[in-house]
Symmetry: C2
Subunit: 537 residues, 2 copies
Amino acid sequence: MMDTQLVLNGFLKRAERYFPNKLIVSRTSETMTHRITFAEYAKRTRRLGSALTNLGMTRGTKVGTFAWNHHRHLEAYFAIPCAGAILHTINIRLAPEHIIYIINHAEDEILLIDGDLFPLVEPAIPYLKTVKHIIVMNDDKVAPQSSFENVHSYEALLAEADENFEFPDDLEETLPAGMCYTSATTGMPKGVVYNHRSIVLHTLGLGLAESFGVSERDVSLPIVPMFHVNAWGLPFAAINYGVKIVLPGPMFTPSLLLDLVEQEKVTVSAGVPTIWLGVLAEQEKNPRDLSSLRLVISGGSASPKGLIQAYEEKLGVPYIVGYGMTETSPLVSMSNYTTEMDDYSKEELLDIRASQGLTVSLIETEVVNENGLVPMDGKTMGELRIRGPWIASEYYKDERTAEAFRDGWLYTGDIAVLTKEGYIKITDRTKDLIKSGGEWISSVDLENALMTHPAVFEAAVIAIPHEKWQERPLACVVLKEGANATKEDLISSLEGQFAKWWIPDDVIFLKEIPKTSVGKFLKAKLRDDLKEYKVTN
Amino acid sequence: MMDTQLVLNGFLKRAERYFPNKLIVSRTSETMTHRITFAEYAKRTRRLGSALTNLGMTRGTKVGTFAWNHHRHLEAYFAIPCAGAILHTINIRLAPEHIIYIINHAEDEILLIDGDLFPLVEPAIPYLKTVKHIIVMNDDKVAPQSSFENVHSYEALLAEADENFEFPDDLEETLPAGMCYTSATTGMPKGVVYNHRSIVLHTLGLGLAESFGVSERDVSLPIVPMFHVNAWGLPFAAINYGVKIVLPGPMFTPSLLLDLVEQEKVTVSAGVPTIWLGVLAEQEKNPRDLSSLRLVISGGSASPKGLIQAYEEKLGVPYIVGYGMTETSPLVSMSNYTTEMDDYSKEELLDIRASQGLTVSLIETEVVNENGLVPMDGKTMGELRIRGPWIASEYYKDERTAEAFRDGWLYTGDIAVLTKEGYIKITDRTKDLIKSGGEWISSVDLENALMTHPAVFEAAVIAIPHEKWQERPLACVVLKEGANATKEDLISSLEGQFAKWWIPDDVIFLKEIPKTSVGKFLKAKLRDDLKEYKVTN
């Protein structure tokens, strides 16, 4: 067999050859929407490759992007790796010291920054050690004023560049193509490097009928940011499969997203549950025509069952939960139904949909505890570990590699059970799990149950030290405004739903649960605040 | 990223873990149909791996199969490559001297032969130089009487073998996994070796929504033989995606195939046009319920438009033409519609369907002539060349490699044009093309036109030498029984359809067109017979 290398260059060639008339709809500001064809896109991408090469980009050069979802970002997605350089997408929501850390740690030499985001980065420039050029992506050809010498206008550079620029045709598939840093619970973000092979294979994964089945017939709206695990790979899929892609740009609202779905006849969209909650509320207020939508994909955190139900029953749109992380490119599993479920009850089907799903082709998952592999019984917990051709094997130049990558597996730090169908159901994070008398208690299960109580706004359950049982659960609850409930009310609402020894020893009432910058519970803080807490009864 | 190897072993593990209850329906004789689950299949495959290992199979051992489509053949499809050995599927329809040649050339050490086919092979045994064991696949545990010492019963071997046999977990993806010989126009068949990587990637190709979209929801009926380019890859796809598979065994009829579709609720099936013609005729006589069928795939030779139309309009079943060859695993392109065609007329759509289609992901095709790449104009002819990760790079130990594999491309010997949408349309074989005055004339186009004449049964158009124009077309026609047509009738039927210089210089009437063993026109013979022919007018 030919040893044809699995590189992104083939995707770009395919797009320009077979799908020249397909559209990229790209919003770059609240007032500006661009519509360009794949043919124009390919020429602009070649121009960008040429311009970056003129600025010194060569194989292995790291080029950072600091941008929303739009066509220029998509041009960078191909111009950089197809030239053999490395696309480093930077999370614009990180704290300034983290942004400085990752640009220096990655050793980015060129940065592509959105015009409206440039003021965010500018104060950091004096601390950046390796950056030689900054290119500002604006709709006009004017670079902003800056004390930094080499600030260029993206459109001015492109105007002068070569639209027939030839990307190299001898890239190896193991060549790094992209990188993305993921926030750590403690310390600086950790970097993951993708290579051409992993991105190409992941793109095939997205195109499989068994997963999302992305194809030329789709219109794709990635709401998940392009700085977050490559917008789950949808931009690469769009170019390879000839998919019309709609990029919502900066400061989008649920209302704008729904308008885009209706106007552009979006068939598939991807985002986090918070987005889908907002979109649902807007749709219930101001209904749009969503008949084109064949699938919404949700990931990043667990989806409440009520949300899934609302999409499937009220809006008539299949709502599929996927599981993955920065380290996994991200697609690992998804909650599609198999034919075995054709006679399941509504409730059983909802259980499946809300799970993290069935592992996709080429990826291997296992759930392990001290007794080895857990059975498919829906209740034995263990840590989820993953391996496969688009799973990271290390953190980039980082000692924390040793914690997560062992014996050829990525240890996710997620605690899971396997349903009888082999579907993954995340029950906790390793660090949040409560180990009571040698048994494990899922803090997430208890929280979910508490949050169904009508008086409860938020609930976090944490482990507190216990002399006899090592650890016992403590419920930290925020009540809804004006609502009333006692400790006894809440405890009795849990009884019957859980084994007796799962029931929290105590409930304390708080004004709010401390949270991370992306809105997740900061349980480490809560545990720290309450480390001296003793159950009084 | 992890360097996880793309090997078939993962497919088998996936099948037994996630799809243990899926069925393999397998007909092994006119009276015997087996129904086994994937769980049972996996155990039997492990037993077979163990039994073959006991007989001396090790990495690189060639194991030949000489069998119909049934579950035992499917067991061999995984037991052999998952052990690191090479599955050599032998075409049972070859002439005895070709069978002897390829078994000796491949150096098969073990043969798996169907009970009813054993008498075909037995006379050849004394000429086989490397075969040490023959295993006969029968429903009982009794090996046939033979003068060859090591003839075993498949079921007897399996009964004694280990159902927990562990396949190695350290295979490299470039390890050869299978081989298949393809008939040559002249000389002995030529061997193609597949490796694990090429088969895994080809299986992903079959699972893409843009191609056949094979998934767990399918029920697959491969009519194309498992000794012919791995039944186009469908058996590998079935195991990986958890697809119920229906294997029609020996001596099936159109009536049996239709019964299987109806009874087993087949959703996708694949075969050559001749099969689909027979199935259509039977369905028109005795209609079955075909509502489960979402797709028939046709390949191997061109499909007449009338046939496609009958499936799509009369039976309501999409009929997709695929293009490929033994050297290409085989999937290269397929005639799916793109959204651009949503407003095409019925006729335009039929033209697309009858073409060889759009090139699938990861595969690159080009059509080249002496002026370089041909434009997408639907008329400029050139030779089709192909490259990609599941395309062969050579013939196994064969000097003819140099003719077909050049500059990193497989030269197919097929003459094609590209439609304006970039779809491939095969117009001729290189050797059958007529080169007149520096221009090319497609013999196939002229034949197709002649065969629409009501009096014509068969027509072959060949090149005859010409002093001024180098070559000119000559039509060789077989009239239908009792029908009458003169040379002038036929010539005038072509006028208007073709440029004047395309019209054959003469028409001769024959009793029959010489054919190959698989029913294709033997134009080399015809050219040879007529090499002294001079146009008389």
